[in-house]
Protein backbone atom coordinates (compact mmCIF):
# COMPACT_ATOMS: atom_id res chain seq x y z
CA UNK A 1 0.00 0.00 0.00
CA UNK A 2 1.15 3.50 -0.72
CA UNK A 3 1.78 5.97 2.08
CA UNK A 4 -1.40 7.77 1.06
CA UNK A 5 -3.67 4.73 1.31
CA UNK A 6 -2.13 3.75 4.62
CA UNK A 7 -2.63 7.25 6.00
CA UNK A 8 -6.26 7.72 4.98
CA UNK A 9 -7.35 4.20 5.93
CA UNK A 10 -5.78 4.46 9.41
CA UNK A 11 -8.13 5.24 12.29
CA UNK A 12 -6.61 8.72 12.49
CA UNK A 13 -6.70 9.21 8.72
CA UNK A 14 -10.46 8.71 8.72
CA UNK A 15 -10.71 11.38 11.41
CA UNK A 16 -8.91 13.84 9.15
CA UNK A 17 -11.26 13.00 6.25
CA UNK A 18 -14.28 13.63 8.47
CA UNK A 19 -12.82 16.88 9.77
CA UNK A 20 -11.75 18.29 6.39
CA UNK A 21 -14.91 17.29 4.51
CA UNK A 22 -17.05 18.49 7.43
CA UNK A 23 -15.30 21.86 7.34
CA UNK A 24 -15.94 22.24 3.58
CA UNK A 25 -19.60 21.23 3.92
CA UNK A 26 -20.05 23.56 6.89
CA UNK A 27 -18.50 26.46 5.01
CA UNK A 28 -20.86 25.79 2.08
CA UNK A 29 -23.78 25.76 4.50
CA UNK A 30 -22.89 29.22 5.84
CA UNK A 31 -22.69 30.64 2.31
CA UNK A 32 -25.98 28.90 1.48
CA UNK A 33 -27.63 30.41 4.58
CA UNK A 34 -26.32 33.88 3.74
CA UNK A 35 -27.62 33.59 0.15
CA UNK A 36 -31.03 32.35 1.25
CA UNK A 37 -31.62 35.37 3.46
CA UNK A 38 -32.50 37.14 0.18
CA UNK A 39 -35.79 35.16 0.34
CA UNK A 40 -36.77 37.34 3.29
CA UNK A 41 -36.24 40.43 1.13
CA UNK A 42 -38.86 39.30 -1.40
CA UNK A 43 -39.16 37.89 -4.89
CA UNK A 44 -36.97 40.30 -6.85
CA UNK A 45 -34.05 40.09 -4.38
CA UNK A 46 -34.21 36.28 -4.35
CA UNK A 47 -34.46 35.97 -8.14
CA UNK A 48 -31.64 38.45 -8.56
CA UNK A 49 -29.47 36.39 -6.18
CA UNK A 50 -30.36 33.16 -8.03
CA UNK A 51 -29.71 34.85 -11.37
CA UNK A 52 -26.28 36.14 -10.31
CA UNK A 53 -25.36 32.74 -8.89
CA UNK A 54 -26.27 30.95 -12.10
CA UNK A 55 -24.34 33.46 -14.17
CA UNK A 56 -21.30 31.42 -13.03
CA UNK A 57 -22.80 28.48 -14.86
CA UNK A 58 -19.63 26.67 -15.87
CA UNK A 59 -17.81 27.12 -12.56
CA UNK A 60 -20.98 26.15 -10.71
CA UNK A 61 -21.00 22.64 -12.20
CA UNK A 62 -17.37 22.14 -11.15
CA UNK A 63 -18.10 23.38 -7.64
CA UNK A 64 -21.15 21.14 -7.43
CA UNK A 65 -19.08 18.09 -8.29
CA UNK A 66 -16.40 19.11 -5.80
CA UNK A 67 -19.05 19.51 -3.14
CA UNK A 68 -20.51 16.13 -4.07
CA UNK A 69 -17.05 14.56 -3.68
CA UNK A 70 -16.61 16.01 -0.18
CA UNK A 71 -20.18 15.01 0.66
CA UNK A 72 -19.64 11.41 -0.45
CA UNK A 73 -16.30 11.26 1.38
CA UNK A 74 -18.03 12.47 4.56
CA UNK A 75 -20.97 10.06 4.25
CA UNK A 76 -18.97 6.98 3.23
CA UNK A 77 -16.22 7.52 5.83
CA UNK A 78 -18.86 8.23 8.46
CA UNK A 79 -20.67 4.98 7.70
CA UNK A 80 -17.41 3.01 7.76
CA UNK A 81 -16.54 4.56 11.14
CA UNK A 82 -20.03 3.81 12.47
CA UNK A 83 -19.79 0.16 11.42
CA UNK A 84 -16.24 -0.28 12.72
CA UNK A 85 -17.20 1.29 16.03
CA UNK A 86 -20.18 -1.06 16.43
CA UNK A 87 -17.88 -3.98 15.58
CA UNK A 88 -15.34 -2.87 18.21
CA UNK A 89 -17.82 -3.58 21.02
CA UNK A 90 -19.55 -6.89 20.23
CA UNK A 91 -21.30 -7.17 23.60
CA UNK A 92 -23.04 -3.97 24.74
CA UNK A 93 -23.23 -2.84 28.36
CA UNK A 94 -26.38 -3.70 30.31
CA UNK A 95 -26.26 -0.30 32.00
CA UNK A 96 -25.23 2.75 30.01
CA UNK A 97 -24.32 5.89 31.82
CA UNK A 98 -22.82 9.20 30.85
CA UNK A 99 -19.68 9.97 32.84
CA UNK A 100 -19.84 13.61 31.77
CA UNK A 101 -18.21 13.69 28.34
CA UNK A 102 -21.01 13.00 25.91
CA UNK A 103 -23.42 15.65 24.72
CA UNK A 104 -26.69 15.26 22.83
CA UNK A 105 -24.81 16.23 19.71
CA UNK A 106 -21.93 13.80 20.11
CA UNK A 107 -24.10 10.87 21.20
CA UNK A 108 -26.39 11.18 18.17
CA UNK A 109 -23.76 11.92 15.52
CA UNK A 110 -24.36 8.89 13.24
CA UNK A 111 -28.15 9.21 13.55
CA UNK A 112 -28.34 12.96 12.94
CA UNK A 113 -25.96 12.30 10.03
CA UNK A 114 -28.38 9.82 8.47
CA UNK A 115 -31.33 12.21 9.00
CA UNK A 116 -29.37 15.06 7.40
CA UNK A 117 -28.47 12.77 4.48
CA UNK A 118 -32.15 11.95 3.86
CA UNK A 119 -33.06 15.61 4.33
CA UNK A 120 -30.55 16.65 1.68
CA UNK A 121 -32.02 14.11 -0.75
CA UNK A 122 -35.49 15.59 -0.19
CA UNK A 123 -34.06 19.10 -0.47
CA UNK A 124 -32.32 18.35 -3.79
CA UNK A 125 -35.49 16.71 -5.12
CA UNK A 126 -37.44 19.83 -4.12
CA UNK A 127 -35.15 22.53 -5.46
CA UNK A 128 -32.31 21.13 -7.54
CA UNK A 129 -33.90 18.60 -9.86
CA UNK A 130 -36.78 20.81 -10.99
CA UNK A 131 -38.40 21.12 -14.40
CA UNK A 132 -36.33 23.21 -16.85
CA UNK A 133 -37.73 26.68 -17.13
CA UNK A 134 -39.44 26.57 -13.73
CA UNK A 135 -39.05 29.80 -11.76
CA UNK A 136 -37.21 29.02 -8.51
CA UNK A 137 -39.18 31.58 -6.49
CA UNK A 138 -42.46 29.87 -7.43
CA UNK A 139 -41.06 26.40 -6.65
CA UNK A 140 -39.82 27.54 -3.22
CA UNK A 141 -43.11 29.28 -2.41
CA UNK A 142 -45.12 26.22 -3.44
CA UNK A 143 -43.03 23.57 -1.62
CA UNK A 144 -42.50 25.48 1.62
CA UNK A 145 -46.08 26.74 1.65
CA UNK A 146 -47.03 23.19 2.58
CA UNK A 147 -47.07 22.39 6.34
CA UNK A 148 -45.85 18.85 5.60
CA UNK A 149 -42.58 20.27 4.27
CA UNK A 150 -42.36 22.72 7.16
CA UNK A 151 -42.31 19.74 9.52
CA UNK A 152 -39.85 17.77 7.36
CA UNK A 153 -37.52 20.77 7.07
CA UNK A 154 -37.86 21.41 10.81
CA UNK A 155 -36.69 17.87 11.57
CA UNK A 156 -33.85 18.11 9.05
CA UNK A 157 -32.65 21.47 10.39
CA UNK A 158 -32.77 20.33 14.02
CA UNK A 159 -30.69 17.26 13.16
CA UNK A 160 -28.29 19.50 11.25
CA UNK A 161 -27.87 21.91 14.18
CA UNK A 162 -27.20 19.02 16.58
CA UNK A 163 -24.73 17.51 14.11
CA UNK A 164 -22.85 20.81 13.84
CA UNK A 165 -22.89 21.46 17.61
CA UNK A 166 -20.55 18.48 17.97
CA UNK A 167 -18.98 18.48 14.51
CA UNK A 168 -17.56 22.00 14.58
CA UNK A 169 -15.68 21.51 17.86
CA UNK A 170 -14.78 17.97 16.87
CA UNK A 171 -13.03 18.97 13.66
CA UNK A 172 -10.62 21.19 15.57
CA UNK A 173 -9.83 18.39 18.01
CA UNK A 174 -9.29 15.98 15.09
CA UNK A 175 -6.96 18.48 13.46
CA UNK A 176 -4.98 18.53 16.70
CA UNK A 177 -6.08 22.05 17.64
CA UNK A 178 -6.79 21.83 21.37
CA UNK A 179 -5.49 24.21 24.01
CA UNK A 180 -7.06 25.40 27.27
CA UNK A 181 -6.43 28.96 26.04
CA UNK A 182 -9.14 28.76 23.38
CA UNK A 183 -11.07 25.48 23.86
CA UNK A 184 -14.03 27.26 25.43
CA UNK A 185 -14.10 29.72 22.52
CA UNK A 186 -14.26 26.90 19.94
CA UNK A 187 -17.08 25.15 21.80
CA UNK A 188 -19.08 28.39 22.07
CA UNK A 189 -18.51 28.98 18.33
CA UNK A 190 -19.89 25.49 17.62
CA UNK A 191 -23.09 26.29 19.52
CA UNK A 192 -23.39 29.73 17.93
CA UNK A 193 -22.91 28.40 14.40
CA UNK A 194 -25.35 25.53 15.01
CA UNK A 195 -27.85 28.00 16.48
CA UNK A 196 -27.31 30.52 13.68
CA UNK A 197 -27.92 27.96 10.96
CA UNK A 198 -31.13 26.68 12.52
CA UNK A 199 -32.26 30.27 13.16
CA UNK A 200 -31.63 31.56 9.62
CA UNK A 201 -33.08 28.55 7.80
CA UNK A 202 -35.81 28.13 10.40
CA UNK A 203 -37.01 31.74 10.04
CA UNK A 204 -37.08 31.34 6.23
CA UNK A 205 -39.10 28.10 6.44
CA UNK A 206 -41.58 29.55 8.95
CA UNK A 207 -41.95 32.85 7.05
CA UNK A 208 -42.70 30.96 3.82
CA UNK A 209 -45.44 29.03 5.63
CA UNK A 210 -47.12 31.97 7.36
CA UNK A 211 -46.72 34.51 4.55
CA UNK A 212 -47.74 32.96 1.24
CA UNK A 213 -47.06 36.29 -0.51
CA UNK A 214 -43.40 36.45 0.56
CA UNK A 215 -42.13 35.44 -2.87
CA UNK A 216 -45.09 36.72 -4.86
Amino acid sequence: MSWFTRTVTASLGKKYIMALSGLVLGAFLLVHAAGNTTILLGRSAFLSYAGHLHAFDFALVGIEFLLLAFFLAHVVTGLVLFMQNMWARPERYAVNNNAGGRTWGSATMPYTGIIVFLFILVHLYNFHFIAPGAVIADVVAEVLGSPLYTVLYGIGLTALALHISHGFWSLFQSAGINHPKYNRFIIVCAWVIGGLIIAVFGIIVVMLLVNSNLLA
Binding site: A88, N96, A99
Partner: protein
Amino acid sequence: MAAREISLNLKIWRQENQGKKGTFENYRLEKINSNMSFLEMIDVLNEKLTREGREPVAFDHDCREGICGMCGAVVDGIAHGPEKATTLCQLHMRHFRDGQTLTIEPFRARAFPIIRDLVVDRSAFDRIIQAGGFISVNTGSAPDANAIPVAQTKAELAMDAAACIGCGACVAACPNASAMLFVGAKISQLALLPQGGPEREKRALSMVRAMDREGFGNCSNERECEAVCPKSISIRNIARLNREFVRASLFSDENE
Protein backbone atom coordinates in the same frame (compact mmCIF):
# COMPACT_ATOMS: atom_id res chain seq x y z
CA MET B 1 -15.48 9.49 59.44
CA ALA B 2 -17.72 7.25 61.44
CA ALA B 3 -18.34 4.01 59.60
CA ARG B 4 -21.85 3.03 58.59
CA GLU B 5 -23.07 -0.39 57.66
CA ILE B 6 -24.92 -0.77 54.40
CA SER B 7 -26.68 -3.55 52.56
CA LEU B 8 -26.28 -3.99 48.83
CA ASN B 9 -27.92 -5.82 45.97
CA LEU B 10 -25.28 -6.79 43.44
CA LYS B 11 -25.85 -7.75 39.82
CA ILE B 12 -22.54 -9.16 38.67
CA TRP B 13 -21.52 -10.43 35.23
CA ARG B 14 -20.46 -14.07 35.42
CA GLN B 15 -18.73 -15.69 32.47
CA GLU B 16 -16.69 -18.86 32.69
CA ASN B 17 -14.37 -18.06 29.80
CA GLN B 18 -14.14 -16.26 26.47
CA GLY B 19 -15.98 -19.01 24.61
CA LYS B 20 -18.90 -19.38 27.03
CA LYS B 21 -21.87 -17.08 27.16
CA GLY B 22 -22.02 -14.82 30.20
CA THR B 23 -24.97 -13.78 32.31
CA PHE B 24 -25.78 -11.60 35.30
CA GLU B 25 -26.17 -13.14 38.74
CA ASN B 26 -27.74 -11.44 41.74
CA TYR B 27 -26.20 -11.36 45.19
CA ARG B 28 -27.25 -9.75 48.44
CA LEU B 29 -24.66 -8.44 50.91
CA GLU B 30 -25.53 -7.29 54.43
CA LYS B 31 -23.53 -5.19 56.87
CA ILE B 32 -20.90 -3.83 54.52
CA ASN B 33 -18.65 -1.40 56.38
CA SER B 34 -18.72 1.94 54.57
CA ASN B 35 -14.96 2.35 55.05
CA MET B 36 -14.29 -0.69 52.87
CA SER B 37 -12.98 -0.24 49.36
CA PHE B 38 -15.04 -1.56 46.47
CA LEU B 39 -12.63 -4.47 46.02
CA GLU B 40 -12.81 -5.32 49.73
CA MET B 41 -16.56 -5.46 49.33
CA ILE B 42 -16.09 -8.03 46.53
CA ASP B 43 -13.61 -9.88 48.81
CA VAL B 44 -16.40 -10.16 51.39
CA LEU B 45 -18.76 -11.47 48.72
CA ASN B 46 -16.15 -14.01 47.60
CA GLU B 47 -15.57 -15.22 51.19
CA LYS B 48 -19.29 -15.74 51.45
CA LEU B 49 -19.51 -17.55 48.10
CA THR B 50 -16.54 -19.77 48.98
CA ARG B 51 -18.10 -20.72 52.33
CA GLU B 52 -21.29 -21.62 50.51
CA GLY B 53 -19.30 -23.81 48.13
CA ARG B 54 -19.95 -21.54 45.16
CA GLU B 55 -17.45 -20.15 42.68
CA PRO B 56 -16.04 -16.74 43.76
CA VAL B 57 -16.18 -13.77 41.35
CA ALA B 58 -12.91 -13.41 39.42
CA PHE B 59 -11.61 -9.84 39.26
CA ASP B 60 -8.25 -8.22 38.56
CA HIS B 61 -6.35 -6.35 41.24
CA ASP B 62 -2.83 -5.89 42.48
CA CYS B 63 -1.56 -2.84 44.39
CA ARG B 64 -4.97 -1.67 45.66
CA GLU B 65 -3.59 1.82 46.03
CA GLY B 66 -4.53 3.24 42.66
CA ILE B 67 -1.19 3.10 40.87
CA CYS B 68 -0.79 -0.27 39.18
CA GLY B 69 -3.62 -0.20 36.66
CA MET B 70 -4.73 -3.79 37.23
CA CYS B 71 -8.20 -3.26 38.70
CA GLY B 72 -11.26 -1.97 36.96
CA ALA B 73 -14.85 -2.85 36.22
CA VAL B 74 -17.87 -0.93 35.05
CA VAL B 75 -20.18 -0.01 37.94
CA ASP B 76 -23.65 1.16 36.92
CA GLY B 77 -22.39 2.05 33.48
CA ILE B 78 -19.29 3.99 34.57
CA ALA B 79 -15.78 2.57 34.37
CA HIS B 80 -14.15 2.50 37.84
CA GLY B 81 -17.46 3.60 39.37
CA PRO B 82 -19.03 6.96 40.12
CA GLU B 83 -16.12 8.83 41.75
CA LYS B 84 -14.02 11.08 39.50
CA ALA B 85 -10.30 10.40 39.12
CA THR B 86 -10.51 7.22 41.19
CA THR B 87 -9.58 3.63 40.45
CA LEU B 88 -12.00 0.91 41.54
CA CYS B 89 -9.68 -0.11 44.41
CA GLN B 90 -9.68 3.45 45.76
CA LEU B 91 -13.44 3.79 45.53
CA HIS B 92 -14.98 3.46 48.98
CA MET B 93 -18.33 2.08 49.97
CA ARG B 94 -19.23 5.33 51.75
CA HIS B 95 -20.21 6.67 48.34
CA PHE B 96 -23.10 4.21 48.10
CA ARG B 97 -26.50 4.20 49.74
CA ASP B 98 -27.97 1.56 52.01
CA GLY B 99 -30.06 -0.84 49.93
CA GLN B 100 -28.58 0.34 46.62
CA THR B 101 -28.49 -2.03 43.65
CA LEU B 102 -25.20 -2.05 41.75
CA THR B 103 -24.63 -3.55 38.31
CA ILE B 104 -21.02 -4.65 37.89
CA GLU B 105 -19.77 -5.51 34.41
CA PRO B 106 -16.35 -6.15 32.89
CA PHE B 107 -14.68 -3.62 30.56
CA ARG B 108 -16.27 -4.46 27.22
CA ALA B 109 -14.37 -4.24 23.95
CA ARG B 110 -13.51 -6.64 21.16
CA ALA B 111 -9.84 -5.86 21.80
CA PHE B 112 -10.26 -6.80 25.51
CA PRO B 113 -11.60 -10.38 25.45
CA ILE B 114 -13.09 -11.59 28.71
CA ILE B 115 -10.94 -14.16 30.50
CA ARG B 116 -13.38 -14.83 33.32
CA ASP B 117 -16.15 -12.83 35.06
CA LEU B 118 -14.72 -9.32 35.48
CA VAL B 119 -11.20 -10.17 34.26
CA VAL B 120 -10.35 -9.02 30.75
CA ASP B 121 -7.24 -9.56 28.65
CA ARG B 122 -5.59 -6.17 28.13
CA SER B 123 -2.44 -7.48 26.43
CA ALA B 124 -3.47 -5.46 23.34
CA PHE B 125 -2.08 -2.45 25.27
CA ASP B 126 1.23 -4.30 25.78
CA ARG B 127 1.50 -4.96 22.05
CA ILE B 128 0.88 -1.27 21.30
CA ILE B 129 3.69 -0.33 23.71
CA GLN B 130 5.95 -2.96 22.14
CA ALA B 131 5.33 -1.33 18.76
CA GLY B 132 6.98 1.93 19.80
CA GLY B 133 6.20 3.13 23.31
CA PHE B 134 9.86 3.23 24.33
CA ILE B 135 13.16 4.94 23.54
CA SER B 136 16.11 2.94 22.20
CA VAL B 137 19.03 4.36 24.13
CA ASN B 138 21.75 2.83 26.19
CA THR B 139 20.45 3.53 29.66
CA GLY B 140 23.82 3.28 31.44
CA SER B 141 24.07 5.29 34.62
CA ALA B 142 21.80 8.24 35.42
CA PRO B 143 22.84 11.35 33.43
CA ASP B 144 23.64 14.63 35.12
CA ALA B 145 20.35 16.36 35.94
CA ASN B 146 21.11 19.45 33.85
CA ALA B 147 22.71 17.66 30.92
CA ILE B 148 19.50 17.69 28.86
CA PRO B 149 17.51 20.94 29.24
CA VAL B 150 13.72 20.45 29.43
CA ALA B 151 11.32 23.36 29.79
CA GLN B 152 9.29 23.22 33.01
CA THR B 153 5.92 23.47 31.19
CA LYS B 154 6.89 20.61 28.86
CA ALA B 155 8.07 18.49 31.77
CA GLU B 156 4.72 19.00 33.50
CA LEU B 157 2.74 18.02 30.40
CA ALA B 158 4.94 14.96 29.87
CA MET B 159 4.44 13.98 33.51
CA ASP B 160 0.67 14.43 33.22
CA ALA B 161 0.67 12.07 30.22
CA ALA B 162 3.00 9.63 31.98
CA ALA B 163 0.49 9.34 34.83
CA CYS B 164 -1.42 6.86 32.63
CA ILE B 165 -1.50 3.50 34.41
CA GLY B 166 -2.82 1.62 31.37
CA CYS B 167 -5.94 0.36 33.14
CA GLY B 168 -8.09 0.46 30.00
CA ALA B 169 -10.96 2.48 31.49
CA CYS B 170 -10.73 4.85 28.50
CA VAL B 171 -11.50 1.96 26.15
CA ALA B 172 -14.26 0.69 28.44
CA ALA B 173 -15.92 4.11 28.66
CA CYS B 174 -15.56 5.06 24.99
CA PRO B 175 -18.85 4.51 23.14
CA ASN B 176 -16.66 3.27 20.28
CA ALA B 177 -14.20 1.21 22.38
CA SER B 178 -11.37 3.37 21.08
CA ALA B 179 -7.92 3.32 22.67
CA MET B 180 -6.86 6.79 21.60
CA LEU B 181 -6.53 8.31 25.07
CA PHE B 182 -4.13 5.53 26.06
CA VAL B 183 -2.12 5.80 22.84
CA GLY B 184 -2.27 9.61 23.00
CA ALA B 185 -0.83 9.58 26.51
CA LYS B 186 1.90 7.08 25.66
CA ILE B 187 2.94 9.01 22.55
CA SER B 188 2.77 12.37 24.33
CA GLN B 189 4.97 11.46 27.28
CA LEU B 190 7.81 10.75 24.85
CA ALA B 191 7.01 13.32 22.14
CA LEU B 192 7.21 16.14 24.70
CA LEU B 193 10.70 15.26 25.88
CA PRO B 194 14.01 15.53 24.02
CA GLN B 195 14.80 11.87 24.72
CA GLY B 196 11.77 10.87 22.65
CA GLY B 197 12.80 13.05 19.69
CA PRO B 198 14.90 10.68 17.53
CA GLU B 199 12.15 8.05 17.21
CA ARG B 200 9.23 10.45 17.29
CA GLU B 201 7.83 9.87 13.76
CA LYS B 202 8.49 6.15 13.66
CA ARG B 203 6.80 5.78 17.05
CA ALA B 204 3.65 7.66 15.98
CA LEU B 205 3.24 5.49 12.88
CA SER B 206 4.04 2.17 14.57
CA MET B 207 1.82 2.72 17.58
CA VAL B 208 -1.18 3.90 15.55
CA ARG B 209 -0.83 0.92 13.19
CA ALA B 210 -0.57 -1.43 16.19
CA MET B 211 -3.66 0.16 17.76
CA ASP B 212 -5.63 -0.32 14.52
CA ARG B 213 -4.52 -3.96 14.23
CA GLU B 214 -5.90 -4.76 17.69
CA GLY B 215 -9.47 -3.94 16.66
CA PHE B 216 -10.13 -0.89 18.83
CA GLY B 217 -12.81 1.50 17.59
CA ASN B 218 -12.28 4.98 16.20
CA CYS B 219 -12.30 8.11 18.32
CA SER B 220 -15.29 10.37 17.69
CA ASN B 221 -14.39 12.95 20.34
CA GLU B 222 -17.06 11.94 22.84
CA ARG B 223 -14.76 12.83 25.79
CA GLU B 224 -16.07 9.95 27.93
CA CYS B 225 -12.48 8.66 28.26
CA GLU B 226 -11.12 11.70 30.08
CA ALA B 227 -14.25 11.78 32.25
CA VAL B 228 -13.56 8.30 33.67
CA CYS B 229 -9.74 8.30 33.56
CA PRO B 230 -8.52 7.64 37.12
CA LYS B 231 -5.49 9.82 36.35
CA SER B 232 -7.52 12.59 34.65
CA ILE B 233 -5.52 12.32 31.43
CA SER B 234 -6.76 15.09 29.13
CA ILE B 235 -7.89 14.63 25.53
CA ARG B 236 -5.26 17.25 24.73
CA ASN B 237 -3.11 14.16 24.45
CA ILE B 238 -5.39 12.80 21.71
CA ALA B 239 -5.04 16.12 19.87
CA ARG B 240 -1.26 15.76 20.21
CA LEU B 241 -1.50 12.19 18.88
CA ASN B 242 -3.41 13.55 15.88
CA ARG B 243 -0.67 16.13 15.26
CA GLU B 244 2.09 13.57 15.68
CA PHE B 245 0.47 11.22 13.19
CA VAL B 246 0.01 13.98 10.57
CA ARG B 247 3.60 15.07 11.07
CA ALA B 248 4.88 11.52 10.69
CA SER B 249 2.63 10.64 7.73
CA LEU B 250 3.04 13.79 5.67
CA PHE B 251 6.37 15.32 6.64
CA SER B 252 8.76 12.54 7.56
CA ASP B 253 10.76 9.92 5.68
CA GLU B 254 9.66 7.17 8.04
CA ASN B 255 7.69 4.47 6.30
CA GLU B 256 5.64 2.03 8.28
